[in-house]
Symmetry: C2
Subunit: 198 residues, 2 copies
């Protein structure tokens, strides 16, 4: 039995799409387990198999790739209502291409591969929801490639300030720098230029 309100964020998240009805959502939540993670713990470790997909119910995390030189590149920050995990690793059994680490203590609802696939099999509405979700993620990722290429670091930062103030408020600067693909010193310089009116 679901304690009252446990999945309220998830329910609202699904409700936005109008694809799953209450029954579908209840069915889906029965496949989930609750996991609590403390700051600095890992949900996924680069190089290891990613065994589950998670829904962030509170706190926040950072997904980042570490290259051979040891430099990190942050792929995304995950807050309330974000889905986390390396789906490539999850599906193909290949090593994760990035780590997902906790920045603020989290509560995550997760499903391992068996449960996830049972849910896809048994809940057609969830299958449909997920298919659309993958398509949208693909579209967003394609757009990100365009943006990454045509925008300067300063343009990216100004856009972040405008479109994702939550990131700028909650996330330490050096992680934002790594999200923008620059060094912390460069972000400092950019912020100074902006504050001086260029």
């Amino acid at each position: 039995m679901e304690p009252f309100g446990t999945f309220s964020n998830l329910r609202e998240h699904f409700a936005e799409t109008n694809i799953l009805n209450d029954e579908d959502i209840a069915a889906f939540t029965s496949f989930l387990t609750v996991k609590r993670l403390k700051k600095k713990e890992f949900f996924t470790v680069q190089g290891e198999l990613c065994r589950s997909i998670g829904f962030v119910n509170s706190g926040c995390l950072r997904a980042f790739h570490t290259d051979e030189k040891g430099d990190e590149f942050t792929m995304y920050f995950a807050f309330l209502n974000w889905w986390i995990g390396d789906k490539t690793s999850f599906y193909s059994g290949t090593p994760s291409r990035f780590s997902i680490q906790v920045l603020e203590d989290c509560e995550v609802f997760q499903a391992d591969k068996t449960k996830w696939e049972e849910a896809l099999d048994q809940i057609p509405a969830f299958e449909k929801w997920y298919r659309i979700k993958v398509r949208k993620s693909y579209e967003a990722t394609q757009q990100k490639i365009i943006d990454t290429q045509i925008e300067s670091a300063e343009e990216k930062y100004l856009k972040l300030l405008k479109n994702s103030p939550e990131i700028v408020q909650r996330i330490p600067q050096h992680y934002i720098a790594s999200y923008l693909g620059i060094k912390p010193q460069s972000l400092s310089r950019i912020r100074k230029n902006i504050s001086l009116g260029r």
Copy 2:
């Protein structure tokens, strides 16, 4: 009736995955029309609706985004056995985020939205194939974001030489530069450095 051999490349392309059988493939091809395009013609125009998805049977094309400053960024080159079109525009009815233009005279098999959705509806194996295809495209795009960020232009070019010699052989330098996200002059400089052993 299919003229002998018309769809042989497409059949081989599908055969690689073992998802569609001969009957499925025959059913799918019945939804396609053949289109021939001359150099410089457009398959998709940025800002306009992308009305069809195509399979490249011969020739090659270039998908590129043009930003407000008029700078172009090449997203991909499409050769034999590539699928082309802006799926976001195709599905959502939004303006295409990039153009697709012919570099070498092409033969393309195409389906408009009605035909494509009929095929997805009527051929479950095609639906499955396509679902996997979207997932893999998403994965590849995610990997491309990582690569774009962590590699220098020279590293990207050396990787292209190694992994996609066809691109380097068939495609004019200035398009390769725009694919790498740099100016033609910079690519020239990089090539010179490489030839001088740095």
